[in-house]
């Protein structure tokens, strides 16, 4: 072993905390160095494949004796539930292009320990597509080749990355001017028809149903479930797909409710993804969230029309909207009754005021009529033939017709003269035209 000959050196890279190993060496040196003895075929030194691989393995294990810290994106975790081991794919990108890539091993024991730390610190499990800072050793296996064995992953670094991604989403939505778009929508006066994004068996959905179905005001809701994953890596994609379905039939709905509950605080970082937050912000119906967790508000909740914390609160919010509509209607009914009574009472008072006036008028009317009648009676009395006869006048009839003038009768005609008491029958002897003769 020639320790004086350094075949690799550590290179400090710009970020300052990761150390990349590298080496410069010619292949034959290794072989001799490690004492591998080649066979000879037609004057050429020939090695078996295993000899080569073993030599590489030994060299690497000697040169990369101690673990080192690396920063990389874990594009895939590749967790095999049966064995419990993970075979993560690690890579580095520059301007969207992969510039370095390697397989890794994360053995069962390490995985369990690291995942628990992640759940505690990040409220997220280890998963695909996150930036990680990890301690690793280079391993080489004659069959499986080169890999990094992950020993430790720094949860604080990944947490910082998640926070940074969340902030990026917020900044981007701000910049695009759409962060307040859903909040600016007008919620229907009676938000009655709800498109629910949830899971049939979710406790949160059950809580929601309990409140809206059993409300004691007889408010009637219509809701329809659009099933979706509610946590984990695929949450953004899954909710996005259901939002698109709802968009097709949006005329049937007043609002969208994203309901999750009983799932703890794990696996919610998907709600900070730009695509989902944007989808919600730009959705044509108000989106109300009841995702039920105790951690910081996610971006999706931030941009939603209303974030109700829990599914029960969400249902309560909807009921409150019904109250807000129902109370003024009831008040209107009361105001209407009161208003009408007021009107009738005013009219009544006006009428009441008129009664004495009317009474007087009627009395006066009756009095005047009475006088008139008296007068007429007098007149009638004056003209009554009986009264005239009583005063000494008589009436002379010829064939039952009154005799008005002397020429009405001829000598010899029979006359009947009516007096106040009895009548006189006579005969005409002579007539004269001059009444004074």
């Amino acid at each position: 072993m020639r320790k004086t000959k350094r075949l690799f050196r550590f290179v400090e890279i710009t970020s300052g905390f990761a150390v990349y190993p590298g080496y410069t060496a010619g292949l034959p040196d290794f072989f001799y160095l490690h004492g591998t003895m080649p066979g000879t075929v037609e004057g050429k030194k020939v090695f078996s494949l295993l000899e080569v691989m073993e030599s590489v393995r030994r060299t690497l294990s000697e040169r990369y004796g101690s673990p080192f810290w690396v920063k990389a994106e874990m594009s895939k975790l590749n967790h095999y539930t049966h064995s419990g081991h993970c075979y993560p794919e690690l890579l580095e990108k520059k301007e969207g292009k992969v510039v370095a890539q390697i397989k890794a091993n994360l053995w069962k024991e390490d995985y369990i320990r690291i995942n628990e730390t992640f759940l505690r610190v990040l409220k997220e499990p280890l998963k695909n597509g996150i930036m990680i800072l990890f301690s690793a050793r280079i391993t080489f296996d004659p069959v499986h080749g080169l890999a990094l064995r992950i020993l430790e992953i720094d949860p604080v670094f990944s947490l910082g990355e998640l926070e940074r991604e969340k902030q990026e989403t917020i900044d981007r939505l701000h910049k695009e001017g759409i962060i307040g778009r859903n909040k600016a929508l007008r919620l229907a006066l009676v938000p009655q028809r709800i498109a629910v994004i949830s899971v049939e068996t979710s406790k949160g959905f059950a809580d929601f149903r309990k409140v809206v179905d059993e409300n004691s005001w007889n408010y009637r809701f219509f809701y329809m479930l659009f099933p979706s994953l509610l946590q984990g890596e695929k949450v953004a994609e899954s909710i996005g797909r259901q939002l698109e379905r709802i968009r097709l039939v949006r005329s049937h709905f007043d609002a969208v409710a994203i309901i999750r509950g009983g799932g703890g605080d794990i696996g919610l970082s998907g709600y900070n993804q730009y695509e989902l937050a944007r989808h919600v912000a730009l959705f044509p119906l108000p989106v109300i969230t009841g995702i039920g967790h105790a951690t910081n508000e996610t971006v999706t909740e931030m941009v939603a029309f209303r974030n109700c914390i829990t599914p029960t609160d969400l249902a309560g919010f909807l009921i409150q909207q019904f109250h807000n509509f129902s109370v003024p209607v009831r008040e209107a009914q009361q105001a209407l009754a009161a208003g009408s009574r007021q009107w009738l009472s005013v009219a009544g008072q006006l009428l009441a005021g008129q009664v004495p006036v009317l009474g007087k008028a009627v009395a006066r009317f009756i009095h005047l009529r009475g006088l008139e009648i008296l007068h007429l009676e007098k007149q009638r009395d004056l003209l009554d033939p009986k009264r005239i006869l009583a005063r000494g006048f008589t009436i002379t009839l010829h064939i039952n017709k009154p005799v008005y003038k002397s020429t009405d009768v001829q000598p010899g005609d029979a006359l009947k003269t009516l007096t106040a008491e009895g009548s006189i029958l006579s005969k005409v002897t002579r007539t004269q035209n001059d009444p004074n003769e």
Partner: protein, 66 residues
């Protein structure tokens, strides 16, 4: 009554009617008509709170059709 009116319209009209009656901007002759109208609007609004005409099957059919 078969008149088609959305509950939002009904609600707005009702509010206007009530304020008319309260501020006394109508004559007693109109009162009966207005009260009748208001009663109809109240009925419409109350009915809205306790009924809905949406149908899951219909919506599903629309989703499949598109």
């Amino acid at each position: 009554m078969s008149e088609k009116i959305t509950y939002t319209e009904a609600f707005d009209e009702l509010q206007a009617l009530v304020s008319e009656i309260e501020t006394g901007e109508i004559s007693v002759d109109q009162l009966s008509e207005k009260v009748k109208r208001a009663a109809f609007l109240i009925k419409t609004c109350k009915k809205k709170l306790s009924s809905t005409e949406e149908d899951v099957d219909k919506i599903l059919k629309e989703l499949e059709g598109k």
